[in-house]
């Protein structure tokens, strides 16, 4: 009897076509909101064509030509570059749409389904955090379900298919977790491998752009404009694991004077004799100057100089290198203005505080504020901030000032917007009303506020982070990593970094402890991540933002969506921010003495092997335990096989019985009873209760037989 027969990959049904269209739409929805409208319109045209056009090659060709021409025209007349990621993604989407439009066979739908999985991955780049995570889960599940219905030629909706997809998903999750934890993270763009192999940096640099970057003034928009370029600035090869990218600050020019619009370098910035005179000449000088130092790293850097002295060493530099010196402001400077490539080896303390004691003249310089501003010619510039800072200074010490300002910044609605470039440094407007500014303006505003509160502060420009290169300890720093931050002189600690960006983006918060008050989040991410949430929540009802009703509303919202926030935070911490450093720390916590990517790789292989063994055991156990009657029959057969009386493969039990009557006449009566019992249980379709009782009796009889034999 043929149980069930289905056409195998013969043709598709309408349900499958619609299901594949649904998956296609799901796969491109996040991207469609970002891509030009023309892409969405062209795709709608392609999808609609399936229901309008006849299924002929001439019509299909005409549609292909039409869509291609329209797309080429839309790219040509827009500002999008031909080889940009968005253009390539749009091409992929349209190609997939055209393929779907002409698809009729299951193989074609299978191909589209698999391609949709890739499209989902691309689209998820336009989402963040929990939304991206849920989107990928949903897309992956949809892909599996569609593959099942197309492969087995099922209708579009099937509980069986949903159950199987869920089962496969559940079975895949443990392996996914093991892979996620143990597979060494390969980070960084793959196209930087050429630089690592020794390709000269200048070959990839547009010098005209870089030379424009050497500035005496830091104007609003300088950093944002430089970020648009993708030229490599330096390549660093670390000894050992690369630290977290957010801890890497590549120190460049330091701006001291603020004229109300721009920040200026020290007038002696270009005087080699002055710089050399004040430089740290011996390591002991540096040791004395750095009052707090931790997280030491060593590295070798390759830099392409374009007429500057700054070698952009990692903050805070330590050690010495040929043809260069460490200035009093912790900058690594070349003795000459550098032209061409330059290599240096150096160490750095990523956590640091310190600096030479400020003399009166220096203190005055770092507290300088403009008397007049162009925007407010009638009085002091940015009076609100000054007033707020003075009030703060009257009630708090240095550390508390830094903490309170950080808290206010974290609680504010201020956002970093690189496009928001204002000519005037209207910090009042930016902080209290405008709420958006580029990073150098926010850093400038922070330095201004500290100075207004009586704390010496300065603006440091350079680069932050970099691109890790896959499977190496190389970091490539590009123009896009340009950054500006603040250094503030706190009490007896000396200069310490204040990172406004992390506070605004909610990545960190400052600790309130008096001993470590002004340590920025960037330098202590482990401590700060959890504290951020508390501070941010407390700060919501602060004077900058809160009213009573607002706070009540927020609390209600927190209660309702608290679990979602917690889930999102957990995802951020354990998935999104899971990096090589965390992998290494997990390894160390697990007791591994040597924690590098090779150990991780070995661990990954071992974990995968262990998982495979577990899967094998689980699969075998399940199939064996499914049918008790078959198991008992197997027992009986095994018992009789010792006397060559077992049932042959594919031998009908009744035939077996006949054979036994000849081969084993002595015990035939007993065997006949048992085999007939088996035939009844197997083929007569008894009620479940009777069946169960019968199987148990069969089992007892086998045990008796075993005893007899």
């Amino acid at each position: 009897m043929i149980v069930l027969s289905r056409a195998l990959l013969a043709s598709t049904n309408t349900g499958q076509i619609y299901a594949s269209a649904a998956l296609l739409v799901l796969s491109l929805v996040p991207a469609l909101f970002v891509l030009p409208m023309s892409v969405a319109l062209l795709l709608a045209l392609v999808l609609a064509a399936r229901f309008v056009l006849r299924n002929s090659s001439a019509h299909r060709l005409a549609l292909l030509v039409l869509v291609s021409l329209l797309w080429v025209a839309s790219v040509e007349f827009s500002e999008v570059r031909w080889l940009s990621g968005d253009t390539l993604l749009a091409a992929f989407i349209l190609a997939l749409g055209l393929k779907w439009q002409e698809s009729h066979s299951p193989q074609e739908l299978q191909f589209i389904t698999v391609a949709c999985l890739l499209l989902q991955a691309c689209s998820s780049l336009y989402l963040e955090g929990l939304a991206a995570f849920l989107y990928l889960l949903l897309g992956g599940f949809g892909g599996i379900y569609l593959l099942w219905i197309v492969t087995l030629n099922q209708s579009s909706f099937s509980f069986k298919g949903l159950a199987l997809s869920s089962k496969m998903f559940a079975a895949a999750l443990p392996l996914l977790v093991v892979l996620f934890i143990s597979v060494p993270r390969i980070q960084g763009p793959l196209w930087d491998v050429g630089i690592v192999m020794g390709l000269p940096l200048h070959m990839m640099v547009d010098k005209s752009q870089r030379e424009k970057g050497a500035k005496v003034q830091l104007r609003s928009g300088n950093v944002a404009r430089a970020k648009k370029a993708d030229d490599p600035v330096l390549v660093a090869n670390f000894e050992g694991a690369v630290p977290s990218k957010s801890l890497l600050y590549w120190r460049g020019p330091i701006y001291e004077q603020f004229d109300g619009e721009n920040w200026q370098l020290n007038p002696a910035w270009n005087s080699r004799s002055q710089l050399l005179k004040n430089a740290f000449k011996q390591r002991a000088d540096l040791d004395r100057a750095l009052r707090v130092k931790g997280s030491k790293v060593s590295y070798e850097a390759r830099l392409n100089g374009v007429g500057e002295r700054w070698l952009y060493a990692l903050d805070a530099p330590y050690g010495s290198s040929v043809e260069s010196f460490i200035s009093a402001d912790f900058q690594l400077l070349h003795i000459n203005k550098l032209q061409g490539e330059f290599n240096y080896q150096l160490s750095a303390y990523l956590d640091y505080k310190g600096g030479r004691e400020l003399n009166a003249q220096q203190r005055e310089r770092y507290l300088q504020l403009p008397k007049l501003s162009a925007s407010n010619s009638g009085g002091d510039s940015n009076p609100k901030l000054r007033q707020w800072a003075k009030k703060l200074a009257s009630t708090a010490d240095d550390e508390q000032i830094v903490y309170e300002f950080g808290r206010a910044l974290a609680a504010s609605d201020l956002k970093i917007d690189e496009q928001q470039i204002s000519i005037n440094a209207d910090y009042d407007g930016m902080f209290f009303s405008q709420k958006t500014a580029p990073i150098e303006q926010i850093a400038g505003m922070s330095a201004f506020t500290f100075r207004a509160a009586g704390l010496p502060a300065r603006l440091v420009s350079g680069y932050r982070a970099g691109s890790l290169i896959a499977l190496t300890n190389f970091v490539v720093v590009r123009e896009q990593h340009r950054h500006a931050w603040v250094e503030v002189w706190v009490g007896n600690s000396g200069w310490q970094r204040f990172e406004a960006q992390d506070l605004l983006e909610g990545k960190a918060v400052q600790s309130k402890s008096k001993t470590d008050t002004a340590t920025t989040a960037a330098t202590t991410p482990k401590k700060s991540e959890k504290k951020l949430q508390k501070v941010a929540a407390k700060a919501l009802d602060s004077t900058l933002k809160g009213t009573k009703s607002f706070a009540q509303k927020e609390r209600r919202g927190e209660r309702r969506w608290g679990w979602l926030q917690q889930l999102s935070q957990a995802l951020q911490v354990w998935v999104v921010d899971y990096n090589p450093q965390r992998q290494v720390s997990l390894l160390k916590a697990a007791g591994f003495k040597k924690a590098d990517w090779k150990t991780l790789l070995l661990l990954a292989v071992a974990s995968i092997a262990a998982m495979l063994i577990i899967y094998t055991l689980v699969m075998n156990r399940r199939t064996q335990s499914r049918d008790l009657l078959s198991l008992q029959f197997y027992r009986l057969n095994k018992l009789l096989s010792k006397q060559n009386l077992d049932c042959a493969e594919n031998e009908c039990p009744s035939q077996w019985l006949k054979r036994l009557s000849v081969q084993q006449p002595d015990s035939f009566v007993l065997l006949e009873k048992m085999i007939k019992q088996y035939i009844t249980l197997r083929y007569q379709g008894l009620e479940p209760v009777q069946q169960h009782a019968g199987v148990l009796e069969f089992k007892r009889d086998i045990s008796r037989l075993k005893g007899m034999m």
Binding site: S124, I144, D577, D627
Partner: protein, 299 residues
Amino acid sequence: MKATASKIKSRSTLTGLGYCFCAVAFAVFLLAVNHSNNLLFSYSFLLFSILLVNLYFSRANMRGLTGRCVSVKHAFVGDQYSYLLALKAQQKPVLQVSFESAKHAIDVGCEDSSVYHYPFTATTRGKITAKTLIAQSYWPLGLFKATRYLAELPEVVIYPKAENLAPVPLKIKATDAQSLQQSTDLDTLRKYNQGDSLKRIHWPSFAKNEQLQVKEFGGDHGTPSNVLDYSRLTLLDEEQRLNCLSYWLVDKHRAGELIGLNLPHQSIAASHSEQHLHLCLESLSCMPKSAVVTTGAVS
């Protein structure tokens, strides 16, 4: 036909779709590397995990499937023939089982044997040698093809196409009378050929010369039998002769007549039975030819 334990082997191989799936998972991995995106890392790991789970599911599905060939009938060129298979799942139903070049997939239950017709179209005369029966399944996602050896399929003889290309010879010539059952008129003696009836051996001459000779009878009485002669069909080409002889053999057999066959290198004495008919047709199908013997699956 029992499949020995040593031959029961399962294999799983990636299909074209499976390779595509791997490529996509790897592409997502590269995307994750390029963007240093942990969510994409987890997505690529999810795809790899699903691939692996699919492998386990497909292997587990095929485990416990047993089968044997119950019967197969020999066929004429142009006809369909099918192996009748008895399939059984030992512990749980085996889903979406099919066979190479078969168009349909079946679910095999474990309650009783499922009978499945494994059909082919006979395209060329000759013998289809014994071959292995390998079941396959693309369940659940089509990423892997799980195969399992089940049994040996028996040899099948494809007879020449039965075509009525010339009239059936009705007259029995004198030399054909040797196959008459009740004829008593001894005509002559000739050398014994393999296949001659032992009843017609002339024992006196054997005793005298120690050479086996058989008696040939003359006359046209008794139950007539037919010795169909390949060499007489001079107007037809080789294949047509075989087709014609094939037709005559079937026709005469249906009519209940005794039939014999004279081929260039073989003579078959006249007889009447299913086995004899098969012997004659098999001789025809195995006549040397230039074309290669092949069969094509039902399309």
